[in-house]
């Protein structure tokens, strides 16, 4: 490693004007970030995927700007028509424009994916940090809860909860968020366990920092990398889970257009209109692939330990 430029004697003059601590932190953060960013840019598939996802995010925010037709207008005389100049991907069993429904479905896929990820982060990171930092009986209790959640096949727990609570987009978000946080808790706990023994934590404690300050200023910033990597890799999984739930009729329910719901229509009508089942699956596949590739890139950039 290079020697730390902040220890350079010639910089002492400048440091006298501004509190030294501030310069050090600012400098380090910026260079960390730009170094990680450069590493990320080296993984070309990840960069392409990131550009694609940026575009998809815009589609999710303002789908109306992209929909060529109304996504609700039915046309009984054009049921199950194949692609045409007006309807690029054809029409569904009610004569609705498939492309417009697919575009509107992007919004719901992204809403569920990001909201559920936010919920799981909000539960998983504090639980993992508390278990790893405090140890003892706190760790024992929290770890058994995490083990318990992890013992359920995710989809089984999701289906049960969705059936009991009644399917809706809110239920889908809450249920997925409340189920998948265990991964964050486990990883954060393991990382915090090792960070807690490091010298800089001991130093912080020696100058009288309390637990809260140590956790928020010294421990959590150091687990940020792995957490970002897992989050980006799990978004794709959440999109598939939501699609599976909606496909089974237990997630986003009609008439709201969702990719899984469109696949479900495609399934019941595959003998008559096989083209209905093809397009939504491609949308799910490409989006999930893009999230996974960005995740791979971020892992190389942020978490050198896990590099393949």
């Amino acid at each position: 490693m290079d020697s730390n430029p902040n220890l350079d004697v010639s910089r002492e003059g400048a440091a006298a004007l501004i509190p030294k601590e501030l310069i050090a932190v600012e400098r380090k953060r910026r260079s960390e970030f730009s170094r990680s960013w450069k590493r990320f840019l080296r993984f070309k598939p990840g960069v392409v995927a990131l550009i694609f996802l940026a575009f998809m995010s815009i589609v999710a925010i303002v789908p109306m700007a992209f929909e060529p037709q109304s996504f609700t207008a039915t046309n009984p005389s054009m049921r199950g028509e194949g692609p045409s100049a007006q309807h690029l991907l054809g029409q569904d069993q009610l004569g609705r424009d498939i492309l417009s429904r697919l575009i509107r479905g992007t919004r719901y896929a992204f809403i569920v994916a990001f909201a559920a990820t936010a919920i799981s982060l909000a539960i998983g990171v504090p639980v993992g940090a508390a278990a790893g930092y405090f140890g003892g009986w706190v760790d024992t209790i929290l770890s058994r809860i995490v083990d318990t959640l992890m013992a359920f096949p995710t989809l089984v727990l999701l289906i049960t909860l969705a059936a009991v609570l009644g399917p809706s987009i809110q239920t889908t978000v809450v249920v997925i968020g409340a189920t998948v946080w265990s991964t964050y808790a486990r990883v954060v706990r393991a990382d915090v366990l090792s960070i807690r023994e490091r010298d800089f934590v001991m130093a912080a404690r020696a100058i009288g920092a309390n637990d809260r300050r140590i956790i928020s200023r010294h421990v959590l910033p150091n687990v940020l990398g792995p957490v970002i990597v897992i989050a980006s890799l799990s978004v794709g999984g959440i999109i598939i889970l939501e699609a599976a739930l909606s496909f089974l009729g237990l997630g986003i329910t009609p008439p709201t257009p969702s990719w899984g719901g469109m696949l479900s229509d495609g399934r019941s009508l595959m003998r008559v209109y096989p083209h209905l089942a093809i397009v939504p699956g491609v949308a799910i596949f490409i989006t999930v692939l893009a999230f996974n590739l960005v995740g791979d890139g971020l892992r190389d950039a942020l978490d050198p330990r896990q590099r393949e």
Binding site: A151, F152, P153, V156, A163, A244, L248, L263, P274
Partner: protein, 308 residues
């Protein structure tokens, strides 16, 4: 080693206890009276209603119901289906278990027998066309939604070509598509893992030693590289049981395959709580046992763990 096993098994029991408590709790939160579901459209008097309530034990407080249910469960009595009046749940589960076991075991065999050679070969021939091809396939395979692949296979092989039956069970032909679909994600995941660990092992000192003492390349590969690179895969196969069971639900539903997954989904649609409860607990029981067995197998084949 013995103490470690005892500790793992004890943890397993704690987790299972929490699983039953959580599952039972979710079921208690379910809306609707199970008696209404049982009675359906039939007109009954309040006296008859109360009699049914008492007979099924719905009149007692939840903890009494829980204790009764748990002690019956431990003795192998899974209760009776409330919706399919009076059919013992354990009969329904036993009937559905064998097709599901068949499906999952075959899928796992298929996945490992493709993934291990493919991953090793990709690592040995790093940066070759085969390696890039394998890695592209592995990235794509993880992102493929299995329910969509299932539909595509049905449209192609059952509806268009007519080679395979689209649903049901009984002959080997019925197994081809469900096994293939269930194996896709696992194959992709394991190939990637196997390639990664093989690359790691190839750079270790003992491999260089084996080579420098004059061993033929094949002997180095089989006896030193593959044997060590397999270790992480063994763990992952064990830990993937939960994911495989999630996949089973979707795959069995799509192919109308009469296994536990389909039993679970039809019970969810009909709100047959006794069956849902039993299947959820059995699934998690299976996952917990699989995880413990994995840990032990790992401790047996990897001497480094045994010493700790």
């Amino acid at each position: 080693m013995f103490a470690y096993m005892v500790q793992r098994i004890a943890q397993g029991f704690v987790v299972l206890f929490l699983v039953t408590l959580l599952t039972f709790g979710i079921m208690q939160a379910a809306p609707g009276d199970p008696i209404d579901l049982m009675v359906g459209e039939a007109q009954i008097t309040q006296a008859e209603f109360d009699r049914i309530r008492e007979r099924w034990g719905f009149d007692r407080p939840w903890y009494e119901q829980y204790v009764t249910w748990l002690s019956n469960f431990v003795r192998g009595d899974l209760g009776r289906s409330v919706v399919r009046t009076g059919v013992p749940v354990h009969e329904m589960v036993l009937e559905a278990a064998w097709p599901t076991i068949q499906l999952n075991v075959l899928a796992m065999i298929l996945a490992t027998s493709i993934a291990i050679p493919a991953g090793v070969l990709a690592a040995v021939k790093r940066y070759s066309i085969f390696d890039s091809g394998t890695m592209i396939w592995a990235s794509a395979g993880v992102a493929l939604p299995n329910f969509w692949v299932g539909l595509m296979l049905i449209i192609l092989f059952a509806l268009t070509l007519g080679w395979l039956p689209s649903f049901g069970a009984g002959t080997w032909k019925h197994l081809v598509m469900p096994v293939a679909v269930l194996a896709i994600n696992e194959t992709a995941l394991l190939t990637r893992l196997m390639r990664g660990t093989t690359l790691e092992v190839m750079n270790q000192d003992f491999v260089t030693t084996a080579r420098s003492k004059g061993l033929r390349e094949n002997a180095v590969l089989i006896r030193h590289i593959i044997r060590n690179a397999m270790l992480p895969s063994v763990t992952v196969i064990g830990l993937r049981v939960a994911f495989l069971l999630s996949g089973t639900i979707v795959v069995e539903t799509i192919f109308g395959y009469p296994g536990i997954g389909q039993l679970f989904i039809t019970s969810v649609y009909r709100l047959d709580y006794q069956v849902i409860q039993a299947v959820v607990v059995l699934f998690t029981l299976f996952v917990v046992v699989a995880n413990i067995v994995t840990d032990m197998v790992y401790a047996i084949i990897d001497p480094r763990i045994r010493v700790q």
